[in-house]
Amino acid sequence: MNLPEQRRETRLDRYFDAYAARTKGLKASAVRSLFAVASRPEVVSLAGGMPNIADLPLGNLADSLADLIRTGGPQVLQYSSAQGEEALREQICEVMSLEGIAAQADDVVISCGSQQALDLVTRTFIEPGDVIVAEGPSYVGAIGVFQSYQAQVVHVAMDEAGLIPEALRQAVLACRAAGRTVKFCYTIPNFNNPTGLRQTVERRKEILAVAETLDLLLIEDNPYGLLALDDGPLPALRSFEAERVIYLGSFSKTFAPGFRIGWAVAPAAVKEKLILAQESATLCPPVFSQFAISRYLATWDWRAQIDRFRVMYRDRRAAMLEGLDAHMPAGASWTRPGGGFFVWLTLPEGLDSQSLLAQAVTNRVAYVPGTGFYADGLGSRNMRLSYCFPPPDQIYEGTRRLGEVLAEAIDVAQTFGLTTPLPLASSNPEPEN
């Protein structure tokens, strides 16, 4: 035996004691590690929210970008303003007008994806311990941002028409009665990630009325609003009440996420804060990407392109819903989204989506367990299934594989008395949240 003289004690991280408190919760995750397998071609991934951009005019785009550098290189490859290029901000106003928003270019702050806009808003408003109310479930990336600024996320229930206004009112009042500071309400009114549910127009007005009564700021995150698959877009919350809403938009789902361009539209004073925050964060949002998107919007029929995306996603949604109807066991229920990318599935009692993911990956299908969409540990019986990326036949096959996994899991759970016996035939349940 070779025993060295020096005994070494290590955490393998010499900076362990130097990290800020807000990073202490960042841990390796077995679930995240399984996504490394999900990226293999053998696996049907119903997990990721990647848009399918293969239908973009890639040849035209390549020529356009080459010309952009050739003719405008010294400008498009240079630093620029923190607020973003004015021409693109004007075009963004045109995009937002489809959802009833009347804004001026000066109201817009461009960001590195709407994710960064959300980060800027959060850093602008949140002190550690402040409360953010958000739909339950809500976008995992938003929860991550909020937690990184040490906010406490309080979830508000949803129904098929979206965030429940009375639940919002009660949640805010309860927090305030407990001496907590509620800074804003975060909502995804259109085809919420992960449920796919959309707030009705009536519901939007009710939410705004509650916000007015409570003097509550709303953050309206809207990446999917133009991807309604059965009808047209609904008016944005911001279109009804500009001073109470910070609106976040994105080109990631309607054009391409790789450019990382999103934006915020905020009341004037807030906008000034966001520009200053953007300066300290990045100096300026990606300049070349801004020019690329501006040229795309100016030279390509982007409205027709969005319509092509809608047709493509409609086929994929149909494959998903047909597959779920055919293969899900009794006791499972799921939403039937009118747009966006996601279906939210509720498992029969006794099943845990997080621990089932390993079995699913073994059976060559992947999804996102529901717990990631809650800040409070709920969601263990839920999973998010996305229909945006794989082709329809793969989506259908993915639901078949998932059905096999669930059938076996129910068998095991029943053996241990963790779920009640269910009939073998599949059903077509109502949406549930």
Binding site: L3, R7, A28, S33, V37, R40, S355, L356, A413, F416
Partner: protein
């Protein structure tokens, strides 16, 4: 030393990410010594890729099923390529905790009192009755784990009878057979056993002290979440017993070149075998590199020695 080294990492198991991380670290260490390294994953074109390399030596770092159950090593034997590590049959034996533990026990090592049960048995005989029998036999707490999985996936400590059914279900998500062991309080250690040409010997034991109290996935792969002490804080006599136990387990399982033996030193100072690993992790938070460095050896140089020995041994 002109042959290329194929670092085989990735695969389709639940431990793919861990394996890729191991592969990156090992490749960098070998390249730092000037060795020609090709990083490869499991895919349909792999055999052709290996053939194009002439006569490479393969360093399998695939974790989990296929990687550690002997299948890939059998295939390498079929292709006729030398590789580092245990043979297919020895890997299969070691990977299946239901079989490996009795083998090690027969060699005279202490093992936890345990039961091994397939899911079907609970269904056919009634889960409630079996759960009660388990608790009667082993007491509480117990440790539940899948018979064939790694990185503590699907494994967990159970303190009450009420928690046991859910823990069994979690384990069955990773395989059809689960192992329930009497939980042993003590000092958890990982001991690399490496044969660099003069016979296998135990490298310094690494003591594992997770902040959470349980060495689960988070504790294994979150840098800073676990404190490692190397050599383990044991008396010289106990350390020697640990080294001897690790070596005995390595030999009982017919391992070759490199393996890692996980033990727990109970309160009376007896090392108790927990499991063996034919493809131990080589990530930034893994214990084998830590032990090699603590012994004053160069991580890459030790691996290079193993590769050269495999090359000299030839296909097997």
């Amino acid at each position: 030393m002109s042959y290329p080294i194929v670092v085989l990492a990735g695969g389709l198991s639940h431990e793919r990410e861990v394996s890729l991380s191991s592969g990156r670290r090992v490749s960098a260490a070998l390249r730092a010594l000037g060795r020609q390294v090709v990083e490869a994953d499991i895919h349909a074109g792999l055999i052709g890729q290996l053939a194009d390399l002439g006569q490479p030596v393969v360093l399998p770092l695939l974790h989990g099923g296929t990687g550690e159950d002997g299948a890939v090593r059998e295939a390498l034997g079929l292709i006729g390529l030398p590789y580092v590590g245990a043979t297919g049959p020895a890997s299969r034996l070691t990977y299946d905790k239901a079989i490996a533990t009795p083998v090690v026990a027969r060699a005279g090592l202490a093992v936890p009192e345990r039961v091994v049960l397939p899911h079907d048995m609970f269904r056919e005989l009634g889960a409630a009755a079996i759960v009660n029998l388990i608790v009667t036999k082993l007491g509480l707490p117990v440790f539940v784990k899948p018979a064939t999985s790694g990185s503590a996936l699907g494994a967990g400590k159970v303190d009450t009878v009420a928690e046991l059914p859910a823990a069994m279900v979690r384990a069955y998500n990773y395989g059809r057979v689960a192992v329930v062991e009497k939980f042993i309080e003590g000092v958890e250690v990982a001991v690399p056993v490496i044969d660099t040409g003069s016979g296998p010997r135990a490298w310094p034991a690494v003591e594992i002290r997770p902040d959470s109290g349980v060495y689960d996935y988070e504790a294994r792969y979150t840098m800073g979440a676990t404190k490692f002490i190397c050599p383990a804080d044991l008396s010289l006599a106990t350390a020697e017993r640990v080294a001897a136990a690790a070596l005995a387990a390595y030999q009982a399982l017919a391992l070759r070149d490199i393996g890692r033996i996980d033990l727990i030193v109970d309160k009376s100072g007896v090392p108790v075998f927990l499991e063996g690993n034919v493809a131990p992790g080589m990530t930034e938070t893994s214990t084998v590199p830590l032990s090699i460095e603590a012994a004053g050896d160069d991580f890459g140089a030790v691996l290079a020695q193993l590769v050269d020995l495999a090359a000299a041994r030839g296909p097997a």
